[in-house]
Amino acid sequence: MKGTGIIKGLGVTLKTMGSKKSTLKYPDVPIEMPDRFRGIQYLDPDKCIVCNQCARICPTECITLTGKPNPDPEKKGKVLDTFDVNFEICILCDLCTEVCPTEAIVMTNNFELAAYSRDDLFKDVDWLYGNNTNVREDNNNIGAPQRGGAK
């Protein structure tokens, strides 16, 4: 009969009125992201071996880093000098953390990046080091040299 469809529809909306709401109280109650969530990176400069893997894999070329000789003459290799991520173009694709052999750069669950100026989105090593909350536990860096390849 004509009209039954409409009445059924009205029934569904009426029933929904009393159902549980799914609105999140977001700014008041922070959103808990699962551990694998890809948020803003955390960088531990002490772990970094300046291998440049992250800068090379980055599809948007948003990472720039430089190294300097190790100040401790006993040790070989380099230490990190500067490390900048341009979050204007970073797509949080997870590839940099995937290839990092020492897990120096890892994802965190923090995702709030809004700023009034574009300049604020250019984050340096100190800022990234300070972003040390909600760091991801399992990084699964399958692309990194020692575990990847013909494993």
């Binding site: 440049n52 190294g67 300097k68 000098d81 500067t82 040299p145 390849g149 013909a150």
Partner: protein, 362 residues
């Protein structure tokens, strides 16, 4: 630290890393090939040749699902057994809305009866004799390939360095360097399959279809219509024809209207800039029989033009516009050839390999 320093540094890193990588790379395929060929020798004789001829794709599909794969398709790779089993079904499924699928059905059922048997026969001999001999041959090839590639990579790197040294990389220089780097690589790429073709592989299950299509085109259009005909093996043995540009319109008409081919569905049109020439690739499909073909039409780079097939398959309309827009290939006969992605006043065709943006800031 300036950008140049960084680049140098990363180049050095590249070198060291590259060596490591090469080692692992060399290991991986040999391991894989040895494993598979041994497996092939151990199992039924039909398994081995199917793997032997696909040297480009070493670990084939059957191992991922041992029982299902081996049971369903004796060739190891899926196309033959699978496609034939499903082809008549498709015909039936598609038969309701269509008219006159009878001959297509016959073609589908009659044709494939022969090749598997033939393939099996021919396969058996080399498999028995040269199952052991396969692996070293292949390793040699990969080594050759590696050497060529290493050389190419080195050259490319040098070229890149040179370009970088010039400071603000001017587009011509960069383009030239890139081209210089690419050409040897391309040459190496071409050389490798040539070397690989030494032992004649058993004919592909789709060979008769390819031959038949080529024959039809030669007979009904013109003797010189088909320039090349080959089977693209990794791509499910896709019959691939290279058609002379001037004959393409007539050939397309034949593909569409000939009851045996009956290509009613144009899957995809893609343009490629091969630097020496331009190429337009049409992926054709007959919904009745489920047969796929790929057709390539080559044209020169200076004033590229390929006859439009929009009157035959309306699908081509926007695809050709896109190719015109991004590669600059003209399609005479197209009803409305305008830019589609880029703004109307855009200068240049971005997908060309030598494209340099008018305004590098954009």
């Amino acid at each position: 630290m300036s950008g140049e320093d960084r680049r140098e540094e990363s180049a050095k890193l590249n070198e060291t890393k590259g060596e490591e990588r090469r080692e692992t790379e060399e290991e991986a395929p040999t391991e894989g090939s040895a494993g598979t060929s041994a497996e092939g020798a151990g199992t039924t004789p039909t398994d081995a040749p199917a793997e032997g001829d696909n040297r480009e794709d070493v670990p084939s599909a059957e191992a991922d699902s041992g029982a299902a794969g081996a049971g369903a398709d004796p060739n190891g790779r899926k196309p033959e057994g699978e496609e034939q089993a499903s082809a008549p079904k498709q015909v039936q499924a598609a038969a309701e809305p269509k008219t006159g699928p009878v001959d297509a059905k016959q073609a589908a059922e009659g044709e494939p009866a022969a090749p598997p048997a033939k393939a099996a026969e021919e396969a058996a001999a080399p498999a028995a004799s040269s199952a052991g001999g396969e692996a070293p041959v292949r390793r040699q090839e990969t080594d050759e390939e590696k050497a060529a590639r290493r050389k190419a990579a080195l050259e490319a790197r040098e070229a890149a360095k040179a370009a970088a040294a010039q400071g603000a990389a001017r587009p011509e220089a960069a383009g030239g360097a890139a081209a210089a780097g690419r050409n040897p690589a391309a040459a190496a790429g071409r050389a490798a399959p040539a070397a690989a073709d030494a032992p004649p592989p058993p004919p592909s299950p789709n060979q008769p279809r390819l031959d038949r299509a080529a024959q039809l085109l030669r007979e009904l259009v013109n003797e010189d219509a088909v320039e090349e005909a080959s089977i693209n093996e990794p791509n499910d043995h896709l019959p691939t024809l290279v058609i002379k540009r001037d004959r393409w319109q007539a050939c397309a008409g034949l593909f569409r209207s000939h009851p045996e081919l009956n290509i009613d569905y144009l899957r995809n049109v893609a343009g490629v800039d091969h630097e020496t020439h331009m190429e337009v690739i049409y992926h054709l499909l007959s919904l009745d029989s489920g047969h796929n073909y790929a057709v390539k039409v080559r044209t020169d780079r200076e004033s590229p033009s390929v006859p439009s097939v929009t009157p035959i398959w309306p699908t081509a309309n926007w695809n050709e516009r896109e190719i015109y827009d991004l590669l600059g290939i003209d399609f005479p006969g197209h009803p409305d050839l305008r830019r589609i992605m880029m703004p109307d006043d855009w200068v240049g065709h971005p997908l060309r390999k030598d494209y340099a943006p008018l305004d590098p800031e954009v």
